[in-house]
Symmetry: C2
Subunit: 110 residues, 2 copies
């Protein structure tokens, strides 16, 4: 529980391939739901549902523009994931260095 639930939810939200694709499109450029759905192999309501998950995960936000809803990246969610990853990265580097040294020693022993 060392990390925020937000970051963990974000990771889980990216578990679905379709949702990853939607996320990538929103990341490329803020867009309306219809635009995002266009070209995707799933229906527009499906995209709406995915966007809801991404929103609850803190990865995207929306703003109304007429009857259209423009979705764009939420910096907070991205930041949370970055922090989580940075923390993992630190401990991982330490462990890996130790392991690499050990491997090198075993090489020298032959």
């Amino acid at each position: 529980m060392a990390y925020g639930k937000t970051a963990l939810n974000s990771l889980a939200a990216l578990g679905d391939p379709t949702r990853r694709e939607i996320f990538a499109r929103v990341a490329a450029r803020p867009s309306a739901v219809g635009e995002i759905a266009r070209g995707l192999p799933v229906s527009r309501p499906a995209v709406s549902q995915h966007l809801k998950v991404l929103k609850e995960a803190g990865l995207v936000r929306e703003t109304a523009e007429g009857t259209r809803r423009i979705y764009f990246l939420d910096p907070r969610g991205i930041a949370a994931m970055r922090e989580l990853l940075d923390s993992l990265w630190t401990t991982a580097l330490g462990a890996f260095k130790q392991f690499a040294d050990q491997l090198a020693d075993e090489e020298n022993d032959r």
Copy 2:
């Protein structure tokens, strides 16, 4: 497709809680499958399956040691995720700024 799909896949691999725990244990110290499974609420084959996913995501690698398979982190996967997140961070800030400016303009128009 502006970003590497591989890195997104890596992030997705960390979506499952059990898989995160396994990844954390491997991150803490390179270990064999049996060691990792010990203390976990799932069976050893389940751990094997999770490790397979993590491996395909480029997050871990393995080396044989007798009949044991030692799993350790793959720094390249971690690095790829960091680069992706850094890139996302930049675009997220841009999208958010654009959103904030737009809101400010609409405020002024009233």
